[in-house]
Subunit: 424 residues, 2 copies
């Protein structure tokens, strides 16, 4: 093999803008302590993976002569059966308009992440603005910056609920700055939000639509429902934007996934897009990126849904994560965090707890607190990564998805111990 000296290469402007995920930097710092337990990783729990179910389904799918051969290429937009079943699953959520969902508006993607990427590619040019909650999904913020877009924060209360008058002010400020035409979409993580674990109620969601309408911003709305299936006690009652009259006039894209709640290794998600041209453009782009998500994995998910195994399996998954959330919550309570001024909501779904430290506390990547946690053997996601504008610095995301209960407890106790040091 020939290894010339590394030659500088003229790279694209996209390449110049994009950065490796900050979380990778964090993980590599954590390597300094081999004993570290991660409350940062967004992985799910190996304990609840549907191994036997998938083995049995693959045994069925590898029989000869199936009408739509799963090991052969499929269509770019995804299997017809899976698209229809995705509509049926969507219609099963509380509050949804059961009729009228159209499988032709569904496209299957490599996790819902790909649909998000395609959506931004289709809508936005470099320099354009996307409105995001504060806090929002930090990978989306990085994705936007990687496409040379500008995430602009929507003011939210401490729990993550959108402040509608704050949104109005933000829109007016953008208008006053001559940026109205640069605002291309609004992105809402409206069910058990990663990171805030907050869900947008129907009234609050309608209020967002109202402000957007009143201010003349009839924007494409992207609703990320990746965690909607991962409720603990009961599904969140708010219908999606697809079924709310308040959003009737808006172009809409709803994102769902079978990866996160069911089997992360399969990487199958979907988008439901109400706007035919937007949809067509995303499909063209997907055709160039990969011609369609693994047909085999689509066939697996299709059968899981068709045979009712998905709902069955998720019942167990929900109980499992609910128990872990309860336990993490208890350890934090017993660890005395509240007494020293920390605040959080006990989540009703999802995979994370969002902590707000005492005002003025610095929990960012470069903070002493973060370094001390790594030394003490625990890793978290610094909350400032989740804000478009990079403030505040006193938040932290603790994920309870992947660690087994005993380690989860130890990790949380380590976190509390560091918090105690810093409040002393």
């Amino acid at each position: 093999m020939f290894e010339p000296g590394y030659t500088p290469l003229p790279l694209s402007r996209l390449s110049q803008a994009i950065r490796p995920p900050i979380i990778v930097d964090l993980m590599s710092r954590a390597l300094a302590n081999p004993d570290v337990l991660s409350l940062a990783a967004g992985f799910t729990d190996n304990e609840v993976l549907p191994r036997v179910m998938i083995r049995d389904i693959v045994a069925e799918l590898t029989r000869e002569g199936l009408p739509e051969e799963p090991l052969q290429y499929g269509q770019n937009r995804g299997r017809e059966g899976l698209r229809a079943l995705s509509c049926r699953a969507l219609a099963g959520h509380p509050g949804e308009q059961a009729s009228g969902l159209d499988p032709e508006k569904v496209f299957i993607t490599n996790g819902s992440q790909q649909a998000l990427y395609l959506a931004m590619q289709a809508l936005c040019d470099p320099g354009d603005i996307v409105l995001v909650e504060e806090p929002s999904y930090f990978v989306c913020l990085e994705l936007l910056k990687g496409l040379r877009l500008r995430p602009v924060g929507i003011p939210c209360d401490a729990r993550g609920g959108i402040l509608t008058e704050g949104l109005r002010e933000r829109l007016r400020a953008l208008d006053a700055a001559g940026e109205r035409s640069r605002v291309k979409a609004i992105y809402l993580v409206s069910y058990f939000c990663n990171p805030s674990s907050h869900s947008l109620g129907a009234v609050a969601k309608a209020a967002v639509a109202g402000v957007l309408s009143e201010e003349g911003f009839c924007l494409p709305v992207i609703e990320d429902a990746a965690y909607r299936d991962l409720y603990f006690e009961a599904p969140h009652p708010a219908p999606s934007i697809l079924s709310m009259e308040a959003f009737a006039a808006f172009p809409k894209l709803y994102l769902g996934t079978y990866t996160k709640p069911f089997a992360t290794g399969l990487k199958v998600g979907f988008g439901y897009c109400t706007h035919p041209v937007w949809l067509e453009k995303m499909l063209c782009m997907k055709g160039h990126q990969d011609f369609g998500t693994s047909h085999f994995n689509q066939a697996i998910i299709e059968r899981v849904l068709a045979q009712g195994f998905y709902a069955e399996h998720l019942a167990g998954v929900r109980a499992h994560y609910a128990a872990k959330a309860t336990m993490l919550n208890e350890v934090l309570e017993k660890g005395g965090l509240q007494q020293s001024g920390w605040r959080w909501e006990r989540p009703a779904g999802g995979l994370v707890i969002w902590l707000r430290g005492p005002a003025g506390m610095h929990l960012g990547m470069e903070s002493d607190f973060c370094a001390r946690c790594i030394a003490a053997g625990v890793l978290y996601v610094p909350g400032d990564l989740c804000f478009a504008e990079g403030v505040p610095k006193n938040c932290a995301r603790l994920a309870f998805g992947s660690l087994p209960p005993d380690k989860l407890r130890v990790a949380a106790e380590r976190f509390c111990a560091v918090a105690a040091e810093f409040s002393a």
Copy 2:
């Protein structure tokens, strides 16, 4: 569900540039004849899919407690084991430098298609130029245009071999036109090219490197080896660009796939990139697009390779496609195409035969010939789709991948019958 009138949406410039694949248009025309047999589709043969092998491997992979849980998320760049085995497989090709291949330079993608897309995103800005063979892989041409890039053709002989002096002239013309700095990469489909079925010999490949060097175009070279494993009698003897001293000074990306030769439904490919910054940027972009290719499918392919099943299975696949190629070739010969001035090479690998009709014959999408073929019940890919500049019009690609032998024969006979009509 609320269906407002479809509102015009301000879409990105990428959206404005991108078009649905032309082949979709062709397919939809073909729907007029339900009896049509497709020599156009690039699908593989259901007959040779490794169903039992995959069933058995999945049974192993769904056991509890495997060290790298296949149903869990993996790393963005792909499984370490699969990356190492990809190097080993690469080193096994004739002429390759066995030592020095580095798994850290491999990244696993959703088919090699995604690696191609990432490569172009990382290197090129809108308006930039990529050099391509004439003819070249038509999906790559569409992909380039969809990214607002300009494919520029490298003059080739009738068989698809690169004319080095033609390349030199093209480079000089670009330089004279002030476009030197816009030329960002050269893309070569060098093994059993889709569509020409031509392979670039070592001498010819070195000559390309020579001309590029002499003219001061030390470009990133992308070698698409998607069909390299699908030889009929013997592997093509030319080493890849990774092992050729002539390419030592060039930044290189080699593309391979496990999808096409083995199981198209799994959609697992890879790139091997010698340039650390280029590689890093592609990985960043992949992270935003999907966080990594299905970990489950990667684990399947890893095990197939590790246990030697891949080589074993491909032996049968090669014999199967060789027989179909022979048969298609015979039907074309018996159909009298040569007598009426058609020319082609019998392929030594791959999944297509590339036909050159008599000079002046028009086989394009809008031709009478194409319409007559659809009426007669056979579909082909008009060759002009495979040229950056859209000429010549007298070529056609016939794919023998998916049709079973009896239908393949009928389809080819229909094609010959239409050709006979037009030469009468």
